[in-house]
């Protein structure tokens, strides 16, 4: 993102007010997060009297009890499996379809593309009950694949659109030259299109990973054993078990959002570009 700078002529007071406003908004954004992380270091009694401030005595046992138990790690592993499989399958399936829409001329291609794009218009919630029946009848209820396949299906609209737009932007001479050399579409796809498309594959992959990692509704309906729950479901179960033990719940929340925050800080450029590009093109 290039920085853009119209001439900034602001008085000393103007500058002060600008930064005052920015810091105020930043404080409102961060305060709940910081209070949550610190709350995990307090005892329940201290939480009652001192929810804002630093803990008087850093209580590591809340975090330690979660990290030493199996629940937290199992949840993260489930989330990783489900999100990883979703991203992998979505990229494979969407890039193949997008390739056809970008490079192969066939009857009804426009209509078919619009068919996929209809999926962008409504939330998964609309058809969640028939989806439950279908997954049950397929015998996929309470399996990873039972969650992954619908997630991939709902990811297709946006993924195909983003990938196809990128593929179409690849220079046409490439395909022409490859054809002259007797290279078929499939070899071209594998040896030329995919290697040239790493940035867009990364973007689509990140967007779908974030969506899947945070997804709650589909796993809620399609999984029913705690052992398979991804973290958004697991944290709700945990919260249900320890309703009034806020110090534990806060520690648990902190540990579950920590991976997201670390990854966000490490790959902020891609994530911001990916999420806004996904929205802009979707």
């Amino acid at each position: 993102m290039t920085d853009f700078a119209p001439k900034i002529r602001r008085s000393r007071l103007g500058w002060f007010l600008t930064y005052f406003a920015l810091v105020l908004v930043a404080a409102i954004v961060l305060l709940p997060l910081v209070a949550t992380a610190l709350g995990g270091f307090k005892t329940l009694g201290e939480l009652r009297t001192n929810p804002f401030g630093l803990p008087q005595h850093w209580e590591w046992s809340n975090y330690w009890s979660i990290l030493s138990g199996p629940t937290y790690w199992r949840m993260l592993a489930n989330s990783l499996i489900i999100s990883g499989l979703t991203v992998f399958l979505a990229l494979v399936v969407a890039s193949m379809a997008a390739f056809c829409f970008a490079h192969v001329h066939f009857y009804g291609s426009g209509l078919l593309l619009n068919y996929f794009l209809v999926g962008l218009m409504f939330p998964a919630a609309t058809a969640v009950l028939p989806l439950f029946i279908k997954i049950r009848d397929l015998g996929l209820l309470d399996t990873y694949m039972g969650v992954v396949l619908p997630q991939v299906a709902f990811a297709l609209g946006m993924s195909i659109l983003l990938l196809r737009n990128f593929f179409r932007g690849l220079p046409g001479e490439l395909l022409e030259a490859a054809m002259v050399d007797g290279c078929g579409y499939m070899r071209f796809f594998w040896h030329v299109t995919l290697p040239l498309s790493k940035p867009i594959l990364a973007t689509v992959g990140i967007v779908q990973f974030v969506i899947s990692w945070n997804n709650y509704l589909l796993p809620l309906i399609l999984l029913n054993s705690d052992a398979k729950y991804p973290w958004p479901l697991g944290i709700m179960v945990y919260q249900g078990e320890f309703t009034t033990q806020w110090q534990l719940i806060l520690a648990f929340i902190t540990l579950t959002i920590l991976p997201t925050i670390i990854v966000f800080l490490a790959a902020q450029k891609y994530i911001i570009a990916g999420l806004t590009a996904g929205a802009l093109k979707g």
């Binding site: 993102m1 700078a5 001439k7 908004v25 409504f122 022409e176 945070n214 999420l275 929205a279």
Partner: protein, 312 residues
């Protein structure tokens, strides 16, 4: 305008013209690639997205608990019940409230911050990062965090009230305040996303326009009013589109905070679908809610794109 900025695209958007390839086409032609590459996407999408919608339309005419096959045909009774159900009215009103708050509070806030942070001022990138952070967090986590913040006994709301000598508030447990509390969280969670859209839009505006206007002695407000705002039109219309669609999907954020309660005061269409269709395994009724939501979404998307976004 804004659309192009975030797009990842190689040097030239030159289109491959299929006709030109015809004479070079190998024996294998286009058939194999179509037969191998299209069906996976087509099947997955049809089975798990399109077919369920069609089935929802059918199930919505039955009273069915999901076992055996749907045979108790009830005609439009599910829809009629829905139209008369006070909780569903609350849900619709709440969805409209979310949209209203987005338009009146969230988007102006996002636009204002975007105008500040699109400049190359010191610390701009840090502020952008902070403001975008809530959007990246899962709605479930955000909802739980705010459940703590609003808690009268252990949360920030309790200690703020205590500081002023007021009784402990239980915002989420009170039907008269629960939705207002939820609305606050929605602004907190999503303004950063809209701000990023606007920043991308502002950065796509031609700098020379500002230079020319400044030479003519335009004030900062005039620059905003007569250059930024009009040229940001497409981005604003897009962000309104997302605000509305986002409101119609609202579910995850509500669940950890109120589950739509107390006494249905913070239901949205999707939490209503969950409370009255899914948890009670009323497949027919839940499908009627789903179909209603589907129609609302599609009608909105089509009319909005055809009218307001026609030229974008």
């Amino acid at each position: 305008m804004g659309d192009e900025t975030a797009e990842v695209r190689p040097a030239r958007p030159e289109r491959w013209i299929p006709g030109r390839a015809a004479k070079y086409r190998t024996v294998r032609g286009t058939a194999p690639v179509l037969i191998l590459f299209l069906p996976p996407a087509l099947l997955l999408f049809s089975i798990f997205v399109v077919l369920p919608i069609a089935e929802a339309a059918r199930y919505s005419f039955f009273s069915w608990n999901g076992y055996n096959s749907p045979d108790n045909f009830v005609g439009l009774r599910n829809y009629l019940f829905l139209l008369r159900h006070a909780a569903f009215h609350t849900a619709l009103i709440n969805n409209l409230l979310v949209i209203a708050v987005s338009l009146v509070v969230q988007l102006p806030l996002a636009l204002w911050l975007a105008t500040l942070l699109a400049d190359r001022i010191r610390g701009a990138s840090i502020f952008r990062l902070i403001f975008f952070l809530p959007y990246v967090l899962a709605e479930i986590a955000a909802g739980l965090i705010w459940r703590f913040v609003y808690d009268g006994d252990y949360g920030l709301a309790g200690s703020i009230a205590g500081f002023f000598g007021l009784p402990a508030p239980y915002l989420l447990a009170d039907p008269s305040t629960s939705m207002a509390a939820v609305l606050g969280v929605i602004v907190w969670k999503f303004f950063g996303f809209h701000m990023m859209l606007y920043i991308a839009g502002i950065q796509a505006i031609d700098r020379s326009l500002y230079d020319a206007a400044e030479i003519d002695g335009a004030t900062r407000f005039q620059l905003f009013r007569f250059i930024t705002l009009p040229l940001l039109g497409p981005t604003v219309r897009l962000s309104i589109f997302f605000a509305v669609i986002g409101s119609l999907q609202l579910f995850d954020l509500i669940m950890p905070m109120t589950r739509g309660g107390p006494s249905d005061s913070s239901q949205t269409i999707v939490t209503y679908l969950y409370s009255y269709g899914i948890t009670r395994m009323r497949i027919g009724f839940g499908s009627a809610v789903g179909v209603t939501l589907f129609v609302i979404c599609v009608v909105f998307a089509f009319t909005y794109r055809r009218t307001l976004m026609r030229h974008d």
